[in-house]
Symmetry: C2
Subunit: 333 residues, 2 copies
C-alpha cells in the first residue's frame, strides 16, 4: 500500500530466515481483511510503501535451526500474531498477548516469514484438497475471530444469540453460534446477499432495524428479556450501544473489532449486570479444533469469499470490498 | 433519615401484610451499609423523612395467604431485592433483576415487611446461637456482595487475586477469594486495622500504594503479568482504573459498587483483553451455600462488625462509619 486507495502489486526481495525460530512458507491463499480497509480509506496515514496482509495458509519451505515441530512440506495455518504458545498468557489461551508475540505482516505475497514457527503454525493432517483451501484460510483470522465472538459471549446449547454486524466476521459469528448450539440466532443485517448467507450459516431471524428500533425488535423476539448472548462485530459507538441494550440482565456481550471512539458508562454496565469480554481474537487457541471441523466438512466458512482474484489483481480486491461489492476477497499468488 | 447527617430513631406504624406473598419478620439484627453513607453525606438529597436499612435477618412472625415455604417461627435471611426466584432471570442466577423484584427498605427497625417471601427468604437449619447472628446478618448483603466480587472475577484454585478497597465488602471479598482457593491475595489498603482483618481473612500481601504506584507494585508481585482476578470494591474512576490496569491479558475484573462517574474506553478494554462483570450482587443466589458455611463455622464474616449498638443509637452508628472509626455498625433492636 503506497497511500490511501493506492495498492500495487510489485516485486520485493524474497523473505529470509532471520531468527532460528522462523519459518518461510509459500502462500497457497491469502486475503483482504476488513481491518485493511481502515488505512485504505485513509483512517491511518501510510508514510511509506508498506506490505499488507496478515491472513495466510501455505506450504512450509524452510525452517530455522531451532524449529522442531514444523517441517518443510507441511501445509500450515497461522494467526496474525506469532506466539510461542508456551508462556503463561498463551497457556491461558490468550496467544494474541503472548509475552513474545510479533505481528505477522506482508502476507499478501508469494512467500512469508513467520516468526516463532513452532508456536504459531498448525499443520493440517495432510495436503488439503483444493476445495478446502478457502475454508482453511479463514481460520487464520476471520473464522477464528467469529468463533471467539461466540465463545466470549458464552454461547451455549439452547440460548438466543444476537449478532450485530454482517461483515465476514459477523457472518462467521453466526456460523460459530450455530455450532455451539444456539437455539435462536438473530442476525442484524440490511443487505439481501449477506442475509442469505447468514441464513445458510444458521441465522433463524433477520432484523433490519438499527438503533432503538433494532433493540425493540430484539426485545420482541425474546419475550421482552433481551438475548443471553450478543456478539458485537462492528465496533462503533452505535453498534456497541445497540449490543449492550440487546442483552438481558446477567447476559454476555462480546466485541471483536478494534473499537473506534467507543466510550462506555460504568453505571450503565453495572445496572445492566452484563458480562463484557473482547479483544484481538486468540485465533491460535481455536486452530486445532477448527482445522478438524473444516477437514471433516462440518463447517464451510470459505463461503464468505465471494470474489477470488490472482494476487497481481490485489488492487481490484481492495476496491470491491471498499465499495461493499464483495464480502471478502481471496487472493491466489 | 431526615436530611444529610440527620438520622433519628422514631416510632413508626407497625408494618402489615399488604400482599398475599408478603411476610412480616421481627428483626434480630440489622446494620448500616456503606451505600447508606452516600445520602448521609448529601450525595442524594433527602426530600422527606425516609426509613433506611436493607440488611436484615430475623424471625418470621406472620405470612400472607399465598406464602407456602416460609413459616412463622423460622429464622430467615433475605436480600435487599425481593425476588420470586422463579422467573427466567432468577433461574439464571440474577435475582437482583427478577422480573418482579421490589427493593426492600426500612430494615433499620424492629419489624420489616418482606415482599415475595417464598422467593426472597432463606431459613437457617434451626434457631441460630447468638454468636452466629452477626455472620448470618452479613449474608443479607455485604458477604454476598464480596462473594459475587470473587465469583464474577472468576477466582479459582491457585490464582492470584487483587482486591481494590478495604471497606467491609473488600474485606469479605478477600475472605471469598480465600474460600475459592486463590493462592495469593493482594489487598490494597492503607489502614492498619483493616490490613490486619484482611490478613485474618486470607490476604497474603498488602499493597499500600495507589494509582500507578499501586499498579506497579501488583506487577512486581506477579512477575510483570498482572493478576488473573481483580475485585474492584470501591467504584470510583480512580479505583476502577487501578483495577483494570492490574489485570493480566485475558484476566477478569469484577466491580460490585455502584460506579460514580466512571467512564471506560472501549479501545482500552479491547487491548487489555479483559473480562468485565459487575452489578448489584445477586445475593439470593449465594444464600443457601453461605448459610451452610456460616452454620458449620467454615467462615466468620461477622468479624467486619467492629461496633455494635442498640437500634435507638443508630445515629451514632452512622457517624462512626462516616468518620471511618468503624468498618461496619451492627444494630440490635
Amino acid at each position: 500500500m503506497y497511500a490511501a486507495r493506492d495498492v500495487r502489486f510489485v516485486e520485493r526481495d524474497e523473505p529470509k530466515i532471520t531468527k532460528p525460530t522462523d519459518a518461510i512458507i509459500r502462500i497457497s491463499a491469502t486475503c483482504v481483511c476488513g481491518s485493511d480497509l481502515w488505512p485504505y480509506r485513509g483512517a491511518k496515514p501510510i508514510t511509506q510503501p508498506t506490505p499488507f496482509g496478515h491472513e495466510y495458509c501455505g506450504i512450509v519451505e524452510e525452517v530455522g535451526s531451532a524449529v522442531t515441530k514444523v517441517k518443510p512440506g507441511q501445509f500450515v495455518i497461522g494467526s496474525f500474531f506469532a506466539s510461542d504458545n508456551t508462556c503463561p498468557i498463551c497457556r491461558a489461551g490468550y496467544q494474541t498477548w503472548c509475552l513474545h508475540r510479533e505481528l505477522v505482516g506482508g502476507a499478501q505475497a508469494g512467500r512469508l516469514r513467520v516468526p516463532l514457527a513452532d508456536g504459531t503454525l498448525v499443520a493440517t493432517p495432510a495436503m488439503p484438497p483444493e476445495d478446502l483451501i478457502p475454508s482453511l484460510l479463514t481460520l487464520s483470522d476471520v473464522m477464528g475471530t467469529g468463533w471467539f465472538a461466540a465463545d466470549a459471549a458464552n454461547v451455549k446449547r439452547g440460548v438466543t444469540a444476537v449478532v450485530v454486524g454482517d461483515g465476514a466476521v459477523g457472518l462467521l459469528a453466526v456460523l460459530s453460534a450455530k455450532q455451539m448450539g444456539a437455539a435462536r440466532i438473530i442476525a442484524m443485517s440490511r443487505h439481501p446477499k449477506r442475509q442469505q448467507l447468514a441464513r445458510e450459516f444458521g441465522a433463524t431471524d433477520i432484523v433490519t432495524e438499527r438503533g432503538d428500533d433494532g433493540v425493540a425488535r430484539v426485545k420482541e423476539l425474546t419475550e421482552g428479556l433481551g438475548a443471553e448472548s450478543v456478539l458485537e462485530c462492528v465496533a462503533t459507538q452505535e453498534s456497541m450501544k445497540q449490543a449492550i441494550q440487546s442483552v438481558r440482565p446477567g447476559g454476555y456481550v462480546s466485541y471483536v473489532g478494534v473499537p473506534h471512539g467507543v466510550e462506555l458508562s460504568g453505571q450503565d454496565l453495572f445496572y445492566r449486570h452484563l458480562h463484557l469480554h473482547g479483544g484481538p481474537a486468540p485465533v491460535r487457541r481455536y486452530l486445532p479444533g477448527l482445522i478438524e471441523f473444516v477437514w471433516t466438512h462440518k463447517i464451510n466458512p470459505g463461503k464468505v469469499f465471494d470474489l477470488t482474484l490472482p494476487l497481481d489483481q490485489v488492487a481490484k480486491g481492495y476496491r470491491a470490498m471498499d465499495e461493499r461489492r464483495a464480502i471478502k476477497t481471496l487472493l491466489r499468488p
